[in-house]
């Protein structure tokens, strides 16, 4: 610390020295250019340029150090050389060094900007004089000298004599007070050491910002402080030439000076040799000396963009401390904007040169170029990037996550500001950013965040506070800023009681003013939030009414990912609510490719067949979700597989004769794989568990099936676990009953309800209703015998030949339909005179139509009712519409006619498999079109 204080003292004293000259210079010099400059200040200019040049030329490790120090250093080394030469009595080298020293003297004098000769030089002269006298006195030694040496000695003698005449006075002084000269040399050395250290440190930082970000935050803070002050100090030395204009009398600084300097710094962007962090520092300094609020604002904008520039690569992220400073700057900007409502920020307006010169008392509007929304969005994405880059299992991650309220407060303030100035479109964009930070939080997490944000400042985050303090120190040390901006904007976020309220508020703004993409994304977030709050029907209605599925193919990839995630959550939500079919509909497409991780952006999946280029991989990595937003994949998989099991097992049992189209191909495939295994071990992963349960369920063993499912670990992740498991148990029982009836109905003549209820542990009423439903839907050819409470089965089995005939009839009707359609397509008209086949006719009969008719038609559908042509005529009412809509794949839709159970009476999720989006790179889940009926 001592050296630091000293360093500062030094610079101050020198400033005083220099004030004299620059005072003359600044007036004439600043706008007058080089020509009219006074002699001494002209030197300044020149030197400054030279400094720039030298900076550009040295490309290696840049030790940042002021020019003057460098010259002094060089001089000192020459003096040292001379000393060495004296020791060995080498007059040749001594002579060389002396010449060099003299040459160098000019430079040093120029740099030091004083007519005074450095004390070091004088001292060297004294030393040399003494040594010369000594050498001359020692005649013997002189004789021993080599000829060249002697020659050099003589030459030295004359030169020194001539030279010393100029400095006689000082030499005299030196001889009288040698100690005063001694001091300075030592001090100089000290200072240099200090310099080097700082330089090293800063080098390290430039090279490896990640390292700093990753190190323990405590340390980081300390180091940060050190750094900062180190920088501060160095700048005060190095940039003294620049700063001195500002550090002098505050009243002397004009708007022009600041503006000019600003332009200079801004122009230096991207040039070789300009340090990014230095630019930030320089600009930060300028903010303090800005003359008008508008100018301050302008400079602040530059500071912020310079801060964004600190991290050059797309992959890395902005250092955390810079990010925080950036946040503070944003708040400062907002303070200014609130304090001076006449300042307008926009991008379209081309302000004139002197726009920002207008002072605080100026009445009209002042335009400043800048884009708050862009800054905010950048801030957000940088925040996201840090989270992406940080290992989620470290403390850093948590620490970083705790800074989220910091961003939220900026966002809130920016939004408030934009709303105030009436730029509602932009406000909607900001609102979306806020929504995207909130939407994935269940109420519990939201509460935690709210609590965190509401904690008193000192416990909340020491970092921020330290930063503030730091700022304060800075401000105190420098001249106090000309434009003092009080903190008018709230520094703490305010959150409503529940996440829902917050979302609703933001949503209504976005829906009103947002553009298409903003609205679509917000809608997706809204649906997601509804889904995690267990409001399935609301979420579903929102999804259906917004028709998002239709356009999702055309959206950008991150929105598509969001859509996939929404579907995943919707599936989970439906599952929790016990809506198995809906859950399956939501999830099945997600799992049909086996690229779940990729589709949800929760990790990179290596594909065996498709090698990715590094470019693609990098892109993919950038799309990853931060860890805290992840959806648990095991839970998702379990949900999907269990749903598929509950649907598919009875389906398989029902269609042993004919190959009914599987409801879930993925599940079928997995089942086949697991059945091929020769030895079945105890279940290990989720898939094994579900497969084991499936085997049990196939046999109608609901207890075992449930216990296997129940043993899964993941259930503890569910909020209302018991409730869900209870639901699951009931569903398993129901499906076990159905499976049992499908499989073994042919073995029974009659079956008592009592037996069924004991077998499947269901209430009489429940079992009755399930069986009745099966009867009504023609899945079971039986009827109740009410007095005895028995199911009486009708044997309506068909022979193999008959079955084949049905299939043939089916195919023939498909063929005829195809022909007719081809004809229609060709001629453009409909066939005349053809018996009614689709239109109108499907209307009149139904399962609940006139029941006599129904008896007839129902018989036609035994054996599964998947004969399209027939059931379409006989009993498949209301399906004509669907049929026409889905002409393309009607051939493959066997299950449509009879399986109305699977449609759940809602017509959801039944359009056939949909085309995947374009190339393999399009990360899309095209979930089944869901049409609102």
């Amino acid at each position: 610390m001592a050296s630091r204080f000293w360093g500062q003292g030094d610079s101050e004293s020198e400033e005083e020295e220099e004030e004299v000259e620059s005072e003359q210079g600044s007036d004439s010099d600043d706008d007058g250019g080089r020509g009219g400059a006074g002699h001494s200040s002209g030197g300044n200019r020149y030197l400054k340029n030279q400094e720039d040049d030298s900076d550009e030329s040295d490309t290696g490790h840049r030790v940042i150090r002021s020019l003057r120090d460098k010259r002094n250093e060089e001089m000192r080394s020459i003096v040292d050389q001379m000393r060495n030469a004296m020791k060995i009595n080498d007059w040749v080298s001594l002579q060389e060094s002396f010449e060099k020293l003299n040459k160098h003297l000019e430079k040093v004098v120029r740099v030091n900007e004083s007519t005074e000769v450095p004390k070091m030089y004088i001292k060297a002269l004294v030393l040399l004089e003494d040594f010369l006298a000594e050498a001359l006195a020692n005649k013997e030694a002189k004789k021993k000298m080599s000829s060249s040496n002697a020659k050099a000695l003589n030459a030295m003698k004359q030169k020194l004599k001539k030279n010393n005449k100029q400095y006689e006075e000082q030499i005299q002084k030196c001889r009288e007070h040698p100690e005063s000269f001694e001091d300075e040399a030592a001090d100089d050395k000290d200072m240099d050491d200090d310099d080097d250290d700082d330089a090293d440190e800063s080098d390290a930082e430039i090279e490896d910002p990640d390292k700093i970000a990753l190190s323990e935050s405590e340390e980081e803070r300390d180091e940060d402080d050190d750094d900062k002050e180190g920088w501060e100090q160095k700048r005060s030395k190095k940039d003294k030439l620049m700063d001195k204009q500002f550090l002098k009398d505050p009243s002397e600084i004009t708007w022009d000076i600041v503006d000019k300097k600003l332009k200079e710094i801004v122009a230096s962007r991207g040039k070789k040799g300009t340090g990014r962090i230095e630019r930030v520092e320089q600009l930060t300094f300028l903010t303090r000396v800005a003359k008008t609020p508008a100018q301050k604002l302008e400079i602040l904008f530059h500071v912020i963009s310079a801060q964004f520039d600190v991290n050059p690569s797309l992959l890395g992220h902005m250092p955390v401390n810079v990010w925080k400073k950036c946040v503070n700057n944003m708040l400062l900007v907002l303070d200014i904007l609130q304090q001076y409502p006449n300042i307008v920020v926009d991008t379209s307006f081309e302000p004139d040169e002197k726009e920002t010169q207008k002072g605080a008392d100026y009445n009209g509007t002042i335009h400043v170029v800048g884009d708050l929304v862009a800054f905010l969005e950048r801030l957000d994405s940088e925040f996201l990037k840090t989270l992406q880059c940080t290992d989620p299992y470290t403390k850093d991650y948590v620490q970083r996550l705790r800074e989220e309220p910091l961003f939220l407060v900026v966002a809130q303030n920016v939004q408030d500001y934009l709303e105030r100035v009436g730029n509602l479109k932009a406000a909607a964009k900001v609102a979306l950013r806020r929504v995207e930070l909130v939407y994935y939080k269940p109420q519990e997490v939201y509460d935690a965040m709210r609590k965190l944000a509401e904690q008193p400042e000192d416990t909340l985050d020491d970092d921020a506070e330290a930063g503030d303090e730091h700022q304060a120190i800075d401000d105190n040390r420098g001249p106090s800023p000309f434009v003092v901006i009080p903190e008018v904007v709230p520094r703490k976020p305010t959150f409503p009681e529940s996440g829902r309220t917050l979302m609703d508020g933001l949503m209504s703004l976005i829906y009103k003013y947002g553009d298409e993409r903003t609205k679509a994304r917000a809608m997706l977030c809204d649906i997601y939030h509804h889904a995690i709050s267990d409001e399935f029907s609301v979420a579903r209605d929102l999804l259906l009414m917004s028709h998002l599925q239709d356009g999702v193919q055309l959206m950008d990839i991150s929105s598509q990912i969001l859509f996939n995630r929404v579907m995943a959550q919707l599936g989970l939500c439906a599952f929790r609510a016990g809506l198995i079919n809906e859950a399956h509909g939501c999830l099945t497409e997600l799992y049909s490719t086996g690229r779940v991780k990729e589709l949800l952006a929760q990790g990179v999946q290596q594909s065996r067949y498709h090698e990715k280029t590094p470019e693609q991989e990098r892109l993919e990595r950038r799309r990853q979700m931060p860890y805290h937003m992840h959806i648990n994949l095991e839970l998702l998989e379990a949900t999907h597989l269990i749903c598929a099991m509950l649907i598919e097992v009875p389906n398989m049992a029902a269609s042993t004769y004919d190959k009914r189209r599987p409801m879930s191909k993925t599940f079928r495939r997995l089942l086949e794989v697991s059945e091929r295994q020769t030895f079945v071990g105890p279940p290990e992963n989720v898939r094994d568990h579900v497969m084991a349960a499936t085997r049990a369920l196939n046999k109608g063993d609901h207890q075992k099936a449930f216990s296997v499912i129940n043993s899964l670990e993941i259930w503890k992740l569910l909020r209302n676990r018991d409730h869900v498991l209870e639901m699951l148990k009931l569903k398993i029982k129901e499906e076990a009953l159905r499976t049992y009836l499908f499989s073994y109905s042919s073995c029974y003549e009659s079956l008592s309800l009592n037996q069924l209820t004991t077998m499947f542990d269901l209430s009489e009423q429940h079992a009755h209703s399930i069986v009745s439903k099966m009867m009504m839907h023609e899945e079971l050819h039986a009827s109740w015998d009410q007095p005895t409470k028995c199911i009486v089965f009708h044997s309506v089995d068909q022979t193999r030949l008959q079955g084949l005939l049905f299939q043939m009839a089916d195919k023939l009707s498909v063929l005829v339909e195809g022909n007719e359609r081809a004809y229609e397509a060709r001629t453009g008209g409909t066939l005349e005179g053809v018996p009614p086949r689709r239109r109108g006719e499907g209307q009149d009969s139904s399962n609940m139509g006139k029941w006599q008719e129904n008896f007839v038609s129902s018989q036609g559908r035994q054996g599964g009712g998947n004969r399209f042509g027939y059931s379409g005529r006989g009993g498949g009412s209301g399906q004509s519409g669907g049929h026409q809509r889905d002409r393309g794949n009607q051939g493959s839709r066997g299950g449509y006619g009879g399986g109305s159970r699977f449609q759940d009476g809602r017509g959801r999720n039944q359009s056939g498999s949909s085309a995947r989006g374009g190339d393999g790179g399009a990360r899309m889940v095209n979930l089944n079109r869901v049409g609102r009926v």
Partner: protein, 443 residues
């Protein structure tokens, strides 16, 4: 029973004047304390010009209490209304005078532009006078002189060129016709209005939705009184746009739709669609009627259905549209009876469909009938060959005849059709080809 009362939800989408009959009905039913209903009426009337009626209600509300004096402001309001009414009556504008003269009216043609020009040139009647006609009509309507209002509005509609106000005039006419119990005319207005709403591309979807919901609410008056209303309501409500509107913002209308479908024997095919909608919306709307259908057709829970049916009775009786009595005969409520008849049939059908053998006493219980009554009822069904079954009176059971269609017949049935279709196809292809050939030969 008040929990199933829809009046508060219906009233949101109705005109002040249209709410009055509903309140009237509530007062009659005594579902709520009379004071409350009266107070509600009073509040309702405060926005209208029917001051005399309001005063009467005020008196009956505060009957016996100290302040049965009519408040000052009401008296003042009355004077004001009467004054302007008298002014309107005595000094009719030239336009009104014109319209009162049948000979002059003959001059009008169907061309609006022409009329406007003609009136302007020959009678110095400008557009502002025409607009005044609208205000006049509004005043009449507020006073409760609905037929006058209709007359004025009709003329206004003919003369006005202002599209938006014409639509509003239509709404006014609809309300007036409804309140005049002039159902045929009202239905006409309704269709006219519907056309306007559906064709208006310019208005925002939100407005359209709102208009549709209003229209559906207002139409309830018509459909439940007009003789052909039962088909009308199904036709209107099941149109995609209107069904969407119901699902979006007017779930309670499902009750009326459900009743209409149940009661209407010929529209049985809509039942399936109705069930879908009911199931879809059950999270935000349910009442005993929809629950009954759900029990019967989704859960196949006959006991539940029967219980719901019992509750339905009260719901129907308390509903202002459904519970109205036949004139002169206060015991029969047509909708209740029809609903019960049909609901019973539904249960019976479904029950028979899943059963082979049913104990008649149990069946009677399910149908809410006495045993012998049920037997008679079933016998009638069998006799009219609506039911293929026979009664075993020894054991008291009903045995259903199970008849399977022969598999061969099925196959033949399914193939027979193909033959004809292919033939038609071939003919359609060959004919033009032959025609072309002949044409070629002719050349």
């Amino acid at each position: 029973m008040a929990e199933h009362d829809l009046t508060p939800r219906l009233a949101l989408h109705l005109d002040r004047h249209l709410v009055l009959p509903l309140l009237e009905f509530l007062q009659e039913r005594g579902l709520y304390p009379e004071e409350e209903v009266l107070a509600a009426k009073l509040r309702l009337l405060a926005g209208t010009n029917m001051v005399d009626y309001a005063m009467a209600i005020h008196k009956s509300l505060h009957h016996g209490t100290d302040d049965d004096e009519v408040p000052e402001d009401m008296v003042a309001r009355r004077a004001e209304v009467v004054a302007s009414y008298v002014a309107l009556q005595e000094a009719p504008s030239p336009l009104v005078a014109f319209l009162r003269d049948p000979q002059l009216v003959q001059l009008l043609r169907s061309d609006k532009q022409y009329n406007a020009r003609m009136l302007q040139e020959r009678f110095q009647i400008g557009s502002d006078q025409i607009e005044a006609l609208y205000d006049n009509a509004k005043f009449q309507f507020e006073c409760g002189f609905y037929s006058d209002a209709v007359a004025y509005l009709n003329q206004y509609r003919v003369l006005s060129t202002n599209g938006e106000r014409t639509a509003r005039a239509l709404w006014g006419m609809l309300a007036s016709e409804i309140l005049n119990r002039n159902w045929d005319a009202a239905l006409e207005e309704l269709n006219r209005l519907k056309e306007i709403i559906d064709s208006k591309n310019s208005s925002s979807p939100l407005n359209q939705l709102q208009d549709r919901i209003w229209l559906m609410h207002w139409s309830l008056f018509i459909f439940f009184h007009h003789e052909n209303g039962r088909n009308g309501i199904i036709d209107l409500f099941f149109q995609d746009r209107y069904l969407n509107a119901i699902q979006t913002n007017a779930h309670h209308l499902l009750r009326y739709l459900a009743i209409a479908v149940v009661v209407n024997k010929r529209r049985r095919n809509m039942l399936k669609e109705l069930i879908k909608v009911i199931q879809h919306e059950q999270y935000c709307y349910k009442d005993p009627i929809t629950e009954f259908l759900e029990c019967l057709y989704v859960k196949y829970d006959f006991d539940g259905a029967q219980q719901k049916l019992m509750v339905c009775e009260q719901v129907i009786l308390n509903d202002p549209f459904l519970g109205k009595c036949n004139e002169g005969n206060s015991i029969t409520v047509p909708f209740r009876d029809e609903f019960f008849e049909n609901a019973r049939l539904f249960i019976f059908e479904t029950y028979c469909h899943t059963h082979r053998c049913i104990d008649i006493s149990i069946l009677a219980e399910k149908l809410n009938m006495r045993c012998d009554e049920a037997e008679l009822w079933i016998m009638n069904k069998i006799k009219s060959s609506k039911l293929d079954a026979n009664i075993d009176s020894v054991s008291g059971t009903l045995n259903m005849t199970v008849n399977h269609v022969n598999v061969h017949d099925q196959i033949i049935e399914s193939l027979k059709n193909l033959n004809k279709r292919t033939y038609m196809l071939a003919q359609n292809i060959v004919e033009p080809a032959q025609a072309a050939l002949q044409a070629a030969q002719g050349d």
